[in-house]
Symmetry: C2
Subunit: 129 residues, 2 copies
DNA sequence: TAACCGTACTAGTATACATAGTACAGTTGA
DNA sequence: TCAACTGTACTATGTATACTAGTACGGTTA
């Protein structure tokens, strides 16, 4: 379910957290859906349980999941709160990426159509792969 | 000229490299313009020269600058080569960012207009701040 | 009660970052 | 020629973090 690169410079727990965020954001993992337990996922990925727990802790701290001792960890439904901080962060990332693509000579038309496609998929909800 | 966060989890040399890329991409640093020497920048930022050199080595390896022993380091003019690998990487980043913004409830109209603004600025070349 | 769940520790190892110091070769202008 | 600059290449050291291993505790559920 999750593909990790143990040789990467990026920490494993961080790779895992980003993978899960991706699945949540793309609605592959539905709200209140239960995630694999720390120990089960540890066995599947042949990774230490502590590393999985660290990823889950990170995800809970960032508001993507919630954990109930004795029950499990679940996808946290998105709430309409103050996401302005995170949105501003994303805008900054967007600015960097777009600037670099323009710098590398990607035509504006191609860029716009790419973005349109990505938005349609994102708004459609599911992404099947 | 460069603002770094020494307490950040992200390595200093990486922060510096990204800052310089940003300035190159936004045309603040012009092609063939000389960068501060390793020792001078080391003094200004109160950072070890080796750390600066590591950033410069990284930038040279990624094709953003070129270094001439005895002369200095300079912004490398962009060449129309095969940037497809880097562009695909940027598209993947773009996909993630857009998905997350949609997930956080940013309206499509607002998103499009934001992108239009960013593109205009990027294509305009200079960004003054 | 047994088997699962999240959580919280300690301890050890490996790796990467950053610093300090030294050294060498090429370039440049006085 | 010489001094002052440039990039580059080392060694050594201290530190922070990632990851693993192992153990333990309390809550939940069939």
């Amino acid at each position: 379910m999750f593909e990790l690169d143990l040789r990467s410079r990026k920490p494993v727990y961080e790779q895992l957290a980003e993978k899960i965020i991706e699945l949540i954001v793309c609605n592959v993992l539905k709200p209140d859906q239960q995630l694999p337990s720390v120990r089960v996922l540890s066995g599947e990925l042949t990774i230490n349980p502590n590393t999985i727990q660290k990823a889950y802790r990170e995800l809970e701290h960032r508001g993507y999941i919630y954990s109930l001792p004795g029950k499990g960890s679940f996808v946290r439904p998105r709430e309409a709160g103050d996401n302005s901080a995170r949105i501003n962060n994303l805008k900054a990332q967007l600015s960097k990426v777009l600037s670099e693509m323009v710098y590398l000579g990607v035509p504006r038309d191609e860029l716009i159509s790419t973005i349109e496609n990505l938005l349609s998929r994102a708004e459609g909800g599911n992404i099947d792969d």
